[in-house]
């Protein structure tokens, strides 16, 4: 079923949609930023705990499509233990992977996030995958309380 679109909807995506990781409110977070995609109504709140510029815990709340839920779920897993700079680098790589057709060489570096590479073939859904990362970017730069994809 849906063979034509399994490059986007891989089993990992369904798994994270069913059982999102780090789906909770973080007590005493150092950063709390809300991300919003007004086109589809996806809304998430990202919580970060930082120590010496390193992300020691990350969690989220909110509701969205399977792509955005899986993306933020995976993101909270991979950024734990990363420094802010390392996380920003991942954001750049993730952004390149989801928007550029020539980023295949970086797929190894990006690890399990590569499962979302298929989104680049679906321009209407790229923002679903990148909402989490734009929210993280805003949180790390500590500039705003909420961001919007539009």
């Amino acid at each position: 079923m849906f063979d034509a679109i399994r490059d986007l909807y891989q089993e990992v995506i369904f798994d994270h949609n069913r059982n999102p990781r780090n789906f909770r409110v973080l007590a005493n977070p150092d950063r709390t930023v809300e991300g919003f995609n007004p086109l589809c109504g996806d809304r998430l709140t990202l919580f970060l705990k930082l120590h010496n510029n390193t992300i020691i815990d990350a969690s989220f709340q909110g509701s969205g499509c399977a792509i955005s839920t899986a993306s933020v779920s995976l993101m909270t897993e991979v950024i734990k233990g990363k420094t802010a700079n390392e996380a920003e680098q991942l954001f750049q790589q993730f952004h390149a992977m989801t928007t550029s057709k020539e980023a295949d060489s970086d797929l190894a570096a990006i690890g399990k996030l590569a499962v979302l590479a298929g989104v680049r073939e679906y321009p209407a859904r790229v923002k679903c995958a990148t909402l989490a990362w734009h929210t993280l970017d805003a949180a790390l730069k500590n500039k705003r309380q909420s961001i919007s994809t539009e």
């Binding site: 849906f2 986007l8 969205g64 792509i67």
Partner: protein, 408 residues
């Protein structure tokens, strides 16, 4: 009903031969925009190939031909909605511009600080924001009549919100997000009793049911070409002649004047007073061709056929576990808005697209409706003259499969 010539209609729409994801296209996003029959495409192509020049200008042959075709289309629109005169037919970009025109002309003159504009809770953003802009500029108040959980206007509440200060009632003839057909006869009777002007947003209704503006007795009626099998960028504002004559112009420029000096300018008569600048000539001609096409089919026949499609789709959808229909009005056009437990409408939209099925997923430019039903978005299948029961079967099977694959 079995005589509705859907096979012939389908052959008239070249885009229906397109394959999407190697599957036959099942186009169910008609409330967003409708596809175009060959007759509409040909009418515009013929204009550009044989009859094109600017209208109302030159004495040369092509200008005369273009003007004849342009004016001919206005006459067709007049007959289509049974207006009393073609002077009452104003060409605009679409429903949105028509409503903004009313806000900026009728509104600025007749609606003052403390006055009220009454709309319903199911309006499209284009029948909310122009009034908010006007209210911000002149200190008027926007009142919103509530709907019930079936997505129907609560007429008693609507009536209670009418006051001596109400200067305009603006409601959708049919809701784009819910499919609800509003009790416009009742609404207009209430408005007349209080001498309040009424604007109907007919963007969804005009392509799918007979509209008679004289029988309705509304002051203004707005609709778009692109939802009526005609090009985008063209729409119609109908206004009663006396109302339009009392209104100031909308935009200034060529065509809308009879005499210009630096001291003073005299405006043209109707409808040109509201049509500054060179219009979208080819789109107007395309609209005329679309109206010919629909008129030949008969709007009553179209409404009956689409009602049959909606009944079939509703029955099938109701049988799906976990699917909830949003908008269950007794009087409904062929729009099926729905949600599925734990599956976001955008996932539904993308997965169905991979089967060749085009639906809309989102807030449908009606965010307050989404808030009322406490959903971020819905999936929406909307039907038109070229859709079939077989296509609804493809939709329903796709929904059943995606519920299975999501396994939530």
């Amino acid at each position: 009903m079995s005589t509705f010539p859907v096979a012939k209609i389908r052959a008239d729409f070249p885009i229906l031969k397109e394959k999407i994801a190697n599957q036959p296209l099942v186009y169910l996003d008609n409330a967003a925009t409708c596809q175009k029959p060959q007759a509409v495409i040909d009418s515009m192509s013929h204009l550009y190939s044989h009859d094109y020049a600017n209208v109302h200008r030159g004495v040369h042959t092509l200008s005369v031909r273009a003007t004849e075709r342009y004016n001919g289309a206005r006459e067709k629109v007049k007959n289509f909605i049974n207006a009393a005169s073609s002077k009452e037919i104003i060409f605009v970009k679409g429903t949105t511009e028509a409503i903004n025109l009313i806000a900026q002309t009728f509104g600025r003159v007749n609606i003052k600080a403390g006055d009220e504009i009454l709309i319903s809770a199911m309006e499209h953003h284009s029948n909310i924001v122009p009034w908010q802009l006007l209210c911000k500029a002149n200190g008027a108040l926007l009142k919103v009549a509530p709907i019930n959980l079936q997505g129907e206007l609560i007429v008693a509440e609507f009536e209670r919100l009418i006051s001596a200060k109400t200067k305009l009632i603006a409601v959708a003839h049919m809701s784009n997000a819910l499919g609800t057909i509003n009790p416009v006869t009742e609404i207009i009777a209430l408005a007349k009793a209080h001498r309040i002007a009424v604007l109907l947003d007919g963007a969804q209704a005009a392509p799918h049911m007979p509209v008679d503006v004289q029988a309705l007795d509304c002051d203004f009626y707005a609709f778009s070409g692109h939802k009526l099998y005609a090009p985008s960028g063209i729409g119609v504002l109908y206004g009663k002649q006396a109302r339009l004559e009392a209104m100031p112009p909308y935009q200034g420029g060529g065509d809308m004047i009879s005499k210009v000096t630096f001291a003073a300018t005299e405006y043209s008569g109707l409808p040109y007073k509201f049509e500054a600048g060179t219009p979208n000539i080819a789109a107007v001609v395309g609209l005329g061709a679309a109206i010919d096409y629909l008129t030949a089919l008969g709007m009553d026949n179209i409404a009956a056929y689409e009602a049959q499609l909606l009944r079939y789709a509703t029955q099938k959808a109701q049988a799906i576990d976990g699917l909830k229909i949003i908008g269950e009005a007794n009087n409904k056009g062929a729009i099926l808005s729905f949600i599925i437990a734990k599956i976001h409408p955008h996932d539904i939209g993308t997965l169905l697209d991979s089967l060749g099925v085009a639906i809309r997923a989102g807030h449908h430019c009606a965010m307050p409706v989404m808030d009322f039903f406490a959903v971020p978005a819905t999936a929406r299948a909307s039907f038109a003259i070229y859709n079939t029961q077989a296509e609804i079967d493809v939709l329903i099977k796709g929904i059943e499969q995606l519920i299975e694959v999501f396994d939530v």
